[in-house]
Amino acid sequence: MLHRPQSTAEALDLLAMEGATIIAGGTDIFPAHVDRPPPKRLVDISRIPGLRGIRREGRALRIGAATTWTDIARADLPSAFDMLRQGAREIGAVQIQNRATIGGNLCNASPAADGVPPLLALDAQVELVSPRGARVLALDEFLIGNRRTARASNEIMTAILLRDDFVTARSTFRKLGARRHLVISIVMVAALLDIDSNNHVQTARIAVGAASAVARRLDGLEQRLVGARADNAIGDIVSTEDFGSLSPIDDLRATAAYRREAAAELVRRALVELTSARHE
């Protein structure tokens, strides 16, 4: 049975029923059921008013969990969010982006989820609602492993919360796959730089995906970048030690060693792109 609740409260009641599974875009649920029937009880949260769309709340953005990647790619957002919009265009192809949701990408918690690095780099928080009320978790607290999250079985993710602290920051997303489109990432990088009027880095945010069970921020590198001159030499600041927190694996897509090396290269390129973009 597919249920289409019209409110979060109704959805929570339905979710409490035996065997109930949340569906929004369906782009993860159906592929997981190719040789077997789909779950018998699906709770479709994609039509709940308020769960889809992007709303500004002061200096913050609230992205409904059921907002599709197409919605995000088409949204008019500040340049700090470019990496999120670019990432949106790299998730599957247009057929997937038209259905798949930002909340689904996070709740599915694939190590290769293209939405995660930009959101980590933006210090995203997620809002979870259960019958006992709402709670807000930092994204890095929410994602706890390969396809593991802090979401309790009676909780629904309702929103992704982002601060819009950056007026001048630019960001970029770089994805590497073995083919051009419609591909699971070998590795991907989201990077944000806020550069001051003296052309020095004020803030740096860098996250790497598909190179560990959960995408990681590169804290050490971010700190070292602060105060650096924003020019073409910025890539030289990146060192192999910056990637020590990653734990890539060998799989069908690439070796671990390659992932480490490619991640470093993509970070360098992202940084150079962000500094040169400033001079355009």
């Binding site: 049975m1 597919l2 289409r4 569906i23 875009g25 369906g26 782009t27 159906f30 592929p31 190719v34 040789d35 077997r36 029937p37 789909p38 779950p39 018998k40 009880r41 699906l42 479709d44 994609s46 197409t70 265009r89 599957g92 192809a93 247009v94 057929q95 997937i96 038209n98 259905r99 590497l176 073995a178 083919r179 051009r180 489109h181 419609l182 591909v183 699971i184 070998i186 069908l252 897509r253 690439a254 070796t255 060693a257 390659y258 090396e261 490619a262 290269e265 993509l266």
Partner: protein
């Protein structure tokens, strides 16, 4: 209606429709099964292929990822409604048809729907916008080139109207079955299953090798009332064995006691579709005892390896051998030698249509409607399995959504045949994508070791070549690969001293079989890279080295065959000279100034390929009849798997008869209606069946002209009531009513066969294994990112000796599609047994990976092919991968010893090259 179902209202193609369901059903399934909208194709049920793309409120989505209850009230447009339901749909249908953008047609509905969404929003899209809009739909046939053209054509509203001319040889006729394909009306294996059919699912081994014991089957059936029947080996009426080469038949329908590869079937359950689909097959009562498998050539050859088949010593299925001259000549002083070892992996055919079909029993006969490349071979094997006469099996080939060699082997046929036979009820089976990838044949992995020697003048002196092929658990086409490769391993070059040895080795992998080229593409990856190494040693231009050694009609092949007239390999290479020199110098200039990570390279590779079976008979027979309505029935049994035989054979027949194609009605490869045209394989249909069609049409023309007793130059016209013959200004009329129908119901009938003249190979592999060879050469321009190991193929120039271009549009389509499969082989495609049985782990190129492809058709007719034509299907793929690898070498100095050159492998090779 039970409590879990309700009425769901949908707006489909502008009409209000409703169904009763729970709402969790996939929209793709509902469209096809509830509303009979079979134009929405199912290729993967995972959002990986895009074949099921429909519009929901104007936006393209994969219908397989939508629960039908989620789109209640939304406006849905399928291919059946795209002309009326979108602004650009009608133009796109015309443009796809006119441009030749549909080959097999399985991806076409999804492609057109996606393009309609694009053009409705962006009437004049840029190239990158087309790329992005169509990236979610995989096509395995076209190389995307003509799809791209079609979208531009539709945007410009420039689709030409109806074809003009007679459709004779040489004309760019739009494929005769094309309109049905673009409109989604073409019926593939899963599209004509009767509503009352029961469905069958196979119980398959989860282990590479295992012993198994059934549990209580009766109890399982009693506990699952939806299961109408369980079948095991005990239920097979005839022999539990099949194989495409009868002397090597070794594959059971259902394994007995032990399975030899992961996915091998041991049993089947049959029941109503909903009940069968709802079952968790892991609950089937069977106990598995996993056993140590041999997955690689080394494991299978090791002294302690178990034998997969007790009669095949050392797990060796077959040896191949060709030798001439003295190969120890490589030791002669003054010669320059290069050698190397090369490996390739399993490659999956990845056609968009998974195997499907249904069978029904009619009295003491069985009928099978399924996708296939080989109706008569299916007939004979099914007959043996059922223990009945071949004439009591009727194979009705459906449209085939891509084959590339794999649909030569049986897939669903034995299961549905045994089930329908024993239950006396129609039974259908549709492979899931994982089932298709796990259990059907693959391209043979290869391990090749080769040494090539030449004089200082660049003339080849000797080639010593050895290759082992991982042939998997059953013979399939392993013997063909092992025998074809030694004939071809000289490449299209003259070499006086030659030895090529091959082995096909059994492992516990899915059977390796036929895949576009039968081992020759793997061979070319090794040999053509070694030729570039040789050119480097000799400080010669790689293209000029090939021109210097190009095989000609008066130089013998490695098997001692003299090919005579109509050999245009040298012309293919010479056609590349101009683009080669320009591209090489541009790449060198680019690299000289390169500061970033991009390096450009240009590579070339040559190819030859014998059309038809290797030294074995492979006749085709064509029947043409004049019907009482004054039209011709063309019994065309060469299964069209997208390559275009329906159109090409008709063009040949029309030209030979002297009557336009519009007077022909095609009768397909139904074994009750149409003589045997053999298998669609080995690039033989245009050649062999085409030659039979030419002969039958000429014979019929002779019969017609004799009625009026006129000369051979007379013109034949038809008006439905009479044949009018105009000869030297004189008109003769023959009233159709004056002719009596024959046993076929035709007023006049001609039937002719053709079997290519070949000779057996002797103990040293000397002889004339093929009557006709195709030649070609590809030039690849690529860009390597030397810090990421990624490769972008920018341009391909493909020059092919096609003898005579029967239909240039279809030839280009074959070449463009072959190029992209070659690109996949080179850069991304590898199947790892037991892993990644889906189309997001197994990657084939998307539209964004497709290079610009320029085709150069070289026509030098020969006396053997119909109107001088040669085959193209396999020729098109063979040189692409080595041309790309040689371009990588030009860009980076790296030799690719292991295909595919994935980014991690290439980067590691670049690092080694740099001494890092």
């Amino acid at each position: 209606m039970n409590e879990a179902t309700r009425r769901i209202a949908l707006r489909i193609n502008g009409e209000q429709r409703s169904l009763t369901g729970s709402g969790v059903e996939r929209l793709s399934t509902v469209l096809r099964e509830e509303f009979e909208l079979k134009g929405t194709k199912i290729g993967c049920e995972a959002g990986d292929c895009g074949a099921c793309t429909v519009l929901v409120d104007g936006e393209p989505v994969c219908a397989c990822l939508v629960a039908v209850g989620q789109v209640e009230g939304a406006a849905i447009v399928t291919i059946e409604g795209v002309a009326a339901g979108t602004k650009s749909g009608a133009r796109l249908l015309d443009a796809f048809h006119a441009a030749g953008a549909a080959q097999c047609g399985a991806c076409t509905p999804g492609m057109i729907i996606s393009a309609a969404a694009l053009l409705d929003a962006t009437p004049r899209p840029s190239d990158p916008e087309i790329d992005t809009a169509l990236a979610g739909v995989l096509c395995r046939c076209t190389g995307y080139a003509k799809i791209f053209d079609a979208v531009h054509l539709a945007a410009a509203d420039g689709a030409a109207s109806a074809d003009t001319g007679h459709g004779f040889v040489g004309e760019r006729v739009a494929r005769l079955d094309g309109r049905a394909k673009v409109e989604g009306r073409e019926a593939f294996g899963a599209d004509s299953i009767p509503r009352d059919a029961l469905y069958l699912r196979a119980i398959r081994s989860p282990h590479h090798r295992a012993r198994f014991l059934f549990g209580d089957l009766a109890a399982f059936r009693a506990g699952n009332p939806g299961v109408a029947r369980i079948l095991t080996a005990d239920d097979i009426p005839g022999r539990n064995l099949h194989g495409v080469i009868p002397p090597f038949a070794d594959q059971p329908v259902f394994a007995v006691g032990e399975t030899r590869f992961k996915g091998e079937a041991i049993a089947a359950i049959i029941g109503a579709r909903a009940a069968i689909d709802a079952l968790d097959l892991s609950e089937f009562p069977v106990t598995w005892e996993a056993m140590p498998p041999a997955l690689t050539i080394d494991e299978a050859l090791s002294t302690d390896a178990s034998l997969l088949h007790t009669t095949r010593t050392g797990n060796i299925l077959v040896h191949g051998h060709v030798e001439k001259g003295d190969v120890t000549a490589t030791q002669t002083p003054g010669l320059v030698s290069v050698d190397g070892e090369f490996e390739t992996g399993f490659v999956e055919h990845a056609y968009i249509e998974p195997e499907a079909g249904f069978a029904r029993r009619i009295g003491d006969r069985i009928e099978i409607a399924a996708c296939t490349q080989a109706p008569y071979m299916d007939r004979d094997d099914v007959a043996a399995i059922l223990g009945i006469a071949p004439e009591d099996v009727r194979i009705i080939p459906t449209a085939v959504g891509g084959g590339f060699g794999s649909k030569l082997d049986l897939s669903v046929q034995p299961y549905i045949a045994v089930a329908a036979w024993t239950m006396d009820h129609p039974v259908a089976m549709i492979y899931s994508r994982p089932e298709s990838i796990a259990t059907t044949t693959k391209r043979h992995p290869s391990r090749i070791s080769s040494r090539i020697s030449a004089g200082r003048d660049g003339k080849l002196a000797a080639i010593d070549f050895a290759a082992d092929f991982n042939t998997g658990a059953y013979a399939s086409w392993g013997p063909t690969v092992a025998n074809r490769v030694p004939v071809h391993a000289s490449g299209p070059y003259f070499v006086p001293n030659y030895r090529a040895r091959t082995r096909a080795i059994h492992t516990n992998c899915a059977p390796s079989g036929a895949f576009r080229g039968f081992g020759v593409p793997q061979m070319a990856i090794a040999q053509e890279q070694l030729l570039d190494a040789l050119a480097a040693q000799l400080e010669m231009d790689p293209l000029e080295l090939r021109i210097l050694n190009a095989l000609a009609g008066d130089t013998p092949t490695a098997t001692g065959q003299l090919l005579g007239e109509g050999i245009a390999f040298r012309q293919c290479l010479e056609a590349l000279r101009e683009p080669w020199r320009t591209a090489r110098s541009e790449a060198d200039a680019f690299n000289a100034n390169a500061r970033g990570p991009a390096r450009r390279g240009v590579g070339v590779a040559g190819m030859w390929y014998g059309c038809g079976n290797t030294s074995l008979p492979n006749p085709s027979k064509i029947r043409i009849g004049l019907k009482p309505d004054g039209r011709f029935a063309l019994h065309q049994g060469a299964v069209d798997i997208g390559q275009g035989s329906n159109t090409v054979i008709t063009q040949i027949a029309a030209s030979a008869l002297g009557i336009g194609i519009e007077y022909f009605d095609l009768i397909g490869g139904d074994t009750d209606l149409t003589p045997d045209c053999g298998k669609t394989s080995a690039s033989r249909q245009t050649f062999v069946t085409g030659r039979a069609a030419e002969a039958a049409a000429r014979a019929l023309r002779t019969v017609i002209l004799r009625l009026a007793n006129v000369s051979d130059v007379a013109e034949i016209k038809l008006d439905g009531a009479r044949i009018e013959i105009v000869d030297k200004g004189r008109r003769h009329a023959i009233e159709l009513s004056a002719l009596r129908p024959d046993n076929y119901g035709y007023l006049l009938t001609a039937e002719e066969s053709f079997d290519p003249p070949t000779t057996p190979l002797d103990a040293k592999g000397q002889g004339s294994p093929y009557a006709l060879y195709g030649f070609g050469a590809h030039m690849a321009e690529i860009e390597v990112d030397i810090r990421l190991g990624t490769v972008k193929v920018r341009n391909i120039v493909a020059a092919h000796d096609v003898g005579r271009a029967i239909n240039p549009t279809l030839l280009e389509g074959q070449i463009e599609g072959g190029v992209l499969q070659g690109l996949g082989l080179a850069l991304m495609e590898e199947f790892h047994p037991g892993r990644g049985e889906n189309l997001h782990d197994y990657l084939i190129p998307t539209i964004g990976d497709a290079p610009a492809i320029r085709t150069i058709l070289i026509e030098t007719p020969n006396a053997i092919g119909p109107f001088g034509a040669k085959g193209i299907g396999e020729q098109a793929l063979i040189p692409t991968a080595p041309a790309i690898f040689n371009a990588i070498r030009h860009a980076t100095g790296v030799v690719i010893h292991r295909a595919p050159a994935t980014p991690d492998r290439l980067l590691a090779a670049i690092r080694r090259q740099q001494g890092g």
